[in-house]
Amino acid sequence: MTKDNDYISKEKFMEELHRYKRGSVTRRHFLNVTGLGAATAVMGAAMPGVFPNPAFAGDIGDRVILATWPNYHDPSNFETFTEATGAHVQVNVFGSNEEMLAKLQAGGSGWDVYVPTNYTITTYVSEDLIEPLDTSKLPNYDASAFDARYAEAGSVDGQLYAVPKDWGTTGFAINTAHNGGKAISSWKEFFDITMDSFSGRSMVHDYQLTTIGNALKYFGYSFNSVDEAELADAEKLLIDVKPHLFAISSDYQPPMRNGDAWLTMCWSGDGKQLNSDLPEIAYVLGAEGGEIWSDYYAIPKGAPHMEAAYALINYLLDPAVNAKEVLAHGYPTADANTFALLPESLRNDPILFPAQELLSPLEFGAAQTLTDPNRAELMARFKSA
């Protein structure tokens, strides 16, 4: 680089560096135009902020497309990933597992990584929509570090398809200020006060699994029931409750925060976020039970940027990165290595890690609820009633 025509000015270099950091040019482009191709290894060591992990030596392309849930990642982790690999992380946000499945079934989703929930994985396997994982490309995946309860749904017939992201529970959040400072403790009370003192102030999810599941719990049935008589009871309850609902929506944080809604079905991470900001909002697990779930990282069949997909999953499994994720989304991790890096207050948090007696009645969602036509149609009748 001593010849004049190879020289790149400081300004030009910084400009290229910024473009590269923003993810608008690839690592290959950056290395070419700056003439740094040969010096990459040195750069990686000398500028840790730019290339933090020498494991990303290969060129994985300029982008990776992630299909995930709302408020579910630390954006700064993605920026670091882009700086390190040149692959820009494009995030698509979804509202339900049904919607994710529908997009993959329709074909041409263009996703590289997605975040299915435990009960959906067997369907993805039988529909041939999920790629078996090659663990040699996931050096950060330490199977022994994961609590088996939250990892086992990732394997089907001994083949690994998905690695655990985090887990959580589905309970409800109640603004105790409107109930004489007291919380309530069961799904029975949830629906009963909705039709009484909380009329017009309650929300249920726009999601068949939890809305029907928790209505089933009102009667003490299984959260996963597909029994026609039991579903009929749940439907009657939901239709009776409907005129008293504030909304049927999974986007419950805004109305809970501004005071329009006082009670809502709620995932534990949202419960944690609400409770941290507004201590009068309590997160409760229904005494009858309800849902416990775990989410996974997986690669859909025919992902257009396969190498980038593996690189992203591997990166997010790095305990240091994962710990930052947990701090951002507020859901517990099943990974002991990540858990060890969390602050003491989170490790003892009763919302993230409920007491065993509250956890034991909870059920993992069952695969049949995803494909059962009666549950889907029940939800539709409830919404259109």
Partner: protein, 283 residues
């Protein structure tokens, strides 16, 4: 090149477009509507009328749509007409352009963002709080048919204003003077001259808004809190949640048929209204 070849060539882009974007997809939807839901979702080919037999299960969605679409259209017309009249007839020419641009300005922001703004305005800390301040406590606006109606009128008003403006702007002002010279009161002039001459604008505006409203799903989803359900919402759920493509296709075909029928009746009515006039036609 013969004239015929040239005409065919000129029509080819539009023809291909309609074939690929309209005829083919509609045919696919029609075929799907006689199929059955695949076990994990999707469609398996069959020849059954089961999906159509099941249509009453979406009656509420059709009912909501068939009530709120015409009500929204008429409300938009009633609000848009005086505005268009003012812009076309009353306002000083030098302000006309500016005011027209102001009508379009909302289109520069996505309807999604603007509907989110309404969520805040109609929510408990918005207009109801203001009403509570002046003594009207406990008024609920958000997530009601009313809030959906507000969103609809707001979203579609410009589409109504423009056709009305065009027809009123083209109106020969000398007719108004003549009417006045002959002793007609302003109200009578409006009823006998202005209104009949603006029928093409009314017809176009109403049709535009009504057809789009029949397929609306975003505004009810956002401002109805999932409780005010249109056929559009039923379709989104059938394809994205329960993945019942066969039933979804049957509902879609039915919506198209209902729309064709309503629009045909509507066109008949309009052309009868303007039948005795040579200067009035559907634009």
């Amino acid at each position: 090149m013969t004239k015929r070849t040239r005409n065919l060539l000129l029509l080819a882009p539009a023809g291909t477009w309609f074939l690929v974007m309209l005829v083919v997809p509609l045919t696919v939807v029609l075929i799907f509507s006689f199929g059955e839901r695949a076990p994990a979702g999707g469609v398996v080919p069959a020849f059954t009328f089961e999906q159509y037999a099941n249509l009453p299960a979406r009656w509420t969605a059709f009912k909501n749509t068939l009530i709120l679409a015409p009500v929204g259209t008429i409300a938009a017309l009633l609000i848009a007409y005086p505005l268009a009249y003012y812009l076309a007839v009353k306002v000083d020419t030098k302000w006309k352009m500016l005011l027209l641009v102001l009508v379009i300005v909302p289109f520069w922001t996505s309807i999604l963002i603007r509907s989110y703004a309404w969520i805040f305005l109609l929510g408990g800390r918005g207009i109801p709080a203001l009403l509570g301040w002046i003594g009207f406590e406990g008024i609920r606006l958000i997530n009601t048919p009313f809030s959906v109606l507000v969103g609809i009128i707001y979203g579609y008003l410009p589409l109504m204003v423009f056709p009305l403006f065009v027809s009123l702007d083209r109106l020969d002002k000398r007719l108004l003077e003549a009417s006045s010279d002959l002793g007609a009161k302003p109200w009578r002039t409006f009823i006998q001259i202005t209104l009949p001459l603006s029928i093409p604008g009314i017809a176009t505006g109403c049709m535009l808004v009504f057809i789009l409203l029949m397929g609306e799903f975003l505004i009810p989803a956002l401002l109805g809190g999932g409780k005010v359900f249109f056929v559009g919402n039923a379709l989104v759920d059938l394809f994205l949640q329960s993945r019942n493509w066969a039933y979804g296709s049957a509902v879609a075909v039915t919506l198209v048929v209902v729309m064709l029928i309503t629009v045909t009746i509507y066109m008949r009515l309009i052309s009868r209204l303007g039948a005795h006039r040579e200067d009035v036609s559907l634009m």
